[in-house]
Symmetry: C2
Subunit: 649 residues, 2 copies
Amino acid sequence: MPLGQRAGDKSDSRYCGVEVLDFPAGEELPAVLSHSLSSAFDFLLAPLVDPDYRPSPGAVLPVAASDLVLGPSQWSSHIVGKISEWIDLDSEDEQLRLDSEVTLKQEIAWASHLSLQACVLPPPKRSSCANYARVVNHILQGLTNMHLWLRIPLEKSEPMDEDHDEAKSSSIMSDTVDSWEWWNSFRLLCEHSSQLCVALDVLSTLPSMNSLGRWFGEPVRAAIIQTNAFLTNARGYPCLSKRHQKLLTGFFNHSVQVIISGKSNHNVSQVGVLSGDENHTEDTAVRHALSPYLDYIAYIYQRMDPLPEQERFEINYRDFLQSPLQPLMDNLEAQTYETFEKDTVKYTQYQRAIAKALVDRVSDDEVSTTKTVLMVVGAGRGPLVRASLQAAEETGRKLKVYAVEKNPNAVITLHSLIKLEGWESLVTIISSDMRCWDAPEKADILVSELLGSFGDNELSPECLDGAQRFLKPDGISIPSSYTSFIEPITASKLHNDIKAHKDIAHFETAYVVKLHRVARLAPTQSVFTFDHPNPSPNANNQRYTKLKFEIPADTGSCLVHGFAGYFDAVLYKDVHLGIEPNTATPNMFSWFPIFFPLRKPIHVPLKSPIEVHFWRCCAATKVWYEWAVTAPSPSPIHNSNGRSYWVGL
Amino acid sequence: MPLGQRAGDKSDSRYCGVEVLDFPAGEELPAVLSHSLSSAFDFLLAPLVDPDYRPSPGAVLPVAASDLVLGPSQWSSHIVGKISEWIDLDSEDEQLRLDSEVTLKQEIAWASHLSLQACVLPPPKRSSCANYARVVNHILQGLTNMHLWLRIPLEKSEPMDEDHDEAKSSSIMSDTVDSWEWWNSFRLLCEHSSQLCVALDVLSTLPSMNSLGRWFGEPVRAAIIQTNAFLTNARGYPCLSKRHQKLLTGFFNHSVQVIISGKSNHNVSQVGVLSGDENHTEDTAVRHALSPYLDYIAYIYQRMDPLPEQERFEINYRDFLQSPLQPLMDNLEAQTYETFEKDTVKYTQYQRAIAKALVDRVSDDEVSTTKTVLMVVGAGRGPLVRASLQAAEETGRKLKVYAVEKNPNAVITLHSLIKLEGWESLVTIISSDMRCWDAPEKADILVSELLGSFGDNELSPECLDGAQRFLKPDGISIPSSYTSFIEPITASKLHNDIKAHKDIAHFETAYVVKLHRVARLAPTQSVFTFDHPNPSPNANNQRYTKLKFEIPADTGSCLVHGFAGYFDAVLYKDVHLGIEPNTATPNMFSWFPIFFPLRKPIHVPLKSPIEVHFWRCCAATKVWYEWAVTAPSPSPIHNSNGRSYWVGL
């Protein structure tokens, strides 16, 4: 039974499981399952094979239950297999290693036979786990549907204070535990297999929030919460610390399922039931010993804020890679215009900016005598024309509007709009590319919305450089400037999706994507800025920026799969518009972030800065970015000569 | 004029160039060239463009000489282009950066137009050279034949003593210079382009031999020896220190050309000529100012030992990757037998081992009464049969030989041999796979030669396990054991050759290769050992070994492209056979080393150990290796499940 209903949330995090600690010998499994399901758990994490078993020639695998004791759909929806914990593939004892290899392969084969969705692999017993990884890698090569969840205890010792003697802290460093490192080497050895995921064991103490944040970029499928991670509230019921609650909410928001594990430390379950009807002592009436914990988890789930409407609308776009638009080379489709035009917040910002510019341009005394010439370049189906006219009306300024649009299909709609609204005397429609239009007069104000997720990536600079010929020397461009930003992220899901194409080109392409399962590792930094109008005669739109990101020391080491990109635009004076997370315009949905991947994810050790280079390159027919990391270790230069990804002029 | 004649050596290192320091303005280039050629230099390293030039619209590139002043073959054989040294692509000054980019592209385009074989790029002006690398990378994408040699000064400050305070040394560390690091990040950014090479500037002081050794695995094409790196001998002539001489010999042996550069510090040239004929003061008769240096370089070249005959025979195999044999699945060709049979050293060792075993087996008293049963398993065309019979004759022991061979074509030759030699009464030929032959009696001695470059890689263990059924319980196997060895190496040439296949499979294959342009980074360590006969009933031939290599601290950091593999076999008691460099049997040519590549070369920082894992895996129809590095950073597990490379049973 799901933890609760949450509008728009159809993720797996609604389901809660329970770990079966003892081997359900003698085919007890159906009874255990039925008891758990009737106590509102959704699934079991259950051992599949007698832990006393060691392989020997001709031996039959002593499984917990024949495949016949549960129906096929029960096996696959209600059981996650737990691989025997004695398995130790990196032991010094060769016989134990060989027995472990045989048993692991047998157990996984059995779980596959049962069509289980996933098995939990026991945690590595030591930091050096190459042989374990090799055997799991073998298995992954042959696995079709089942996922393997490597169990990792959520532990990290905190680094020493900076004040401490360097030498001392460096010797202590080697003793620090960071279980993320185990996961990281395991998955590197297994080549980022998309079927290898993580089940985190949540303990009573938690590492720093920054270090926890790393896991949101990793394929965490389950959080196994130990009963002794719970506290006891005033009424004797289990509850979680504030930090545990926050982590739990994070898991729910990232489709991570909870599994409760351990012995009950809170004797409230019997009390709860007995107080109802004293005769109900058998069968389903006996509450599950862990029910109070489940109740608390469900309470946390239900207490979460509902998903905002915009989030619900965008939920299917989460972590879905899209190629950026080529608005210059391709004409947009009606549906695309339709979507963008619905973004009222954006047009409100434009209207505010235009109104301020009109007031600055024409004093109250001149209102009746002066007509402002405003050109909307890239008018599309007219939303900025409307915003301009509304700004004129609001400020009482007279306006003459030219609406310049290169897409002949949009021009048709524009003509209907003018007619419908009766704007014939106010608006002149120009069906032309702004870069080659021969304007009959010069404009006071040039309004455009040619921005991509990374600001300049839809070639706003090149278009506006072409259009500024017909802007008066003291004319205003709205936007007057825009800046791109990046930040390093962990995004294993995106990495695997790109890797599935099996070529380099897809790793040298920037994608528009609603980032969700990512870890943001350091604050954003600005990359390129463009100002309009640009009076410099020798100006060019090539750019080169070198940035250095410092990961907070309490994050620990991390893996960078690429860089998330954003923009912020100054429309006019204090009116801005953007998606840079710290300053993002609320409730605007026209832009998702952009993602620049790295061909090989870069491991960033503790306290090592990341040095990254971004270039914006221009040639006669195209513009493109190149990027490279030079610290902590050099990457290749991505997208050399725009070979894989470029925007056509 | 080449430095000298050296039998068998046809490499570029016979040619010596001279750097032209001043811009040969006014089309002086032909005169400079002709003077240098007549002074026995082979080529010039010459500036192509006036160093005062800065790009401006419409400007014509002020080149040193029109393409017409030299013939096409003169340009390509005698001129290496020197790119302007003022170029600084990582300057803080944007205009200088932009000018540098334009000029660099123009100069390279001009050099391409002249069909030069190579241009020397000026050394990076700072350790951070990402923009320089980006522009060079652009150029490399479009370059067809020409190579670019990045000029790198050969410098490395030595690490502090271990005794020093840790904290102190770590702060000093950041000041240490290691120009190899510049090269390394440059080539990583340029993705190991095979057209990007190195020209080393050899200065008066040299870093440690270990750190110099790294360069022999890199694509060094030229060593530019500065005149002030020379000393002066008792007679006033230039000479080099012992360490410089050793380095120079190393360069000659690795096809590195020498270029002499700098002002003359030794005023002997005029003296030498003037003493002959005082009237010769003009034209070609004026000796080149750097001739004394060239004379010395030629002296060092001519003084080198001639290439041994075996080296000359193998010269065309240097760094040439071959797939290992599949002797079980495929039958060898006559030519292969022919080659191997010529390796007399190998058969002499076998004969010695067999003789010792015969003497141990049959005391002098029993010589006349006891006949030893010896089986040659994998007899091929008979060389081991001959060695066995010679050992019997030498020791006076009676012998009955069974020659077991699975290749029916070799069996034909074997029959002719027996007839030709009159061995019919001594030798029984068995046309069968040793693994399934039903022997009529048991052997005293089992002789085999089934070893590959990595010992067990041609499945000697599996074959001998199959054959030991017909060995007497106290019987002797020759060989009685063999061990494989590996060492980490830098081998950029091999890496690039594998990369050219553009797939993962070639990076997960082991190759037989005569290693030449490689740097051996740490002493070899043993990997797997197999003993024969193997009495254990549960024995299996799977193996797992974890090794840790420490690079000597004075080497500095380095790049590991993979592991060189060798074997050593104990034939009988103290008689061994092998190619492990420290114990290799001299003058044996049957085996080249084996090379296990890494998909992505691993950068090993100073003082970081390399941890590597090797597995030998066995299944019903095949045997294969897997390998992975886990420190300093984890690699993927190579060749999982033998998907790319395996040996068929």
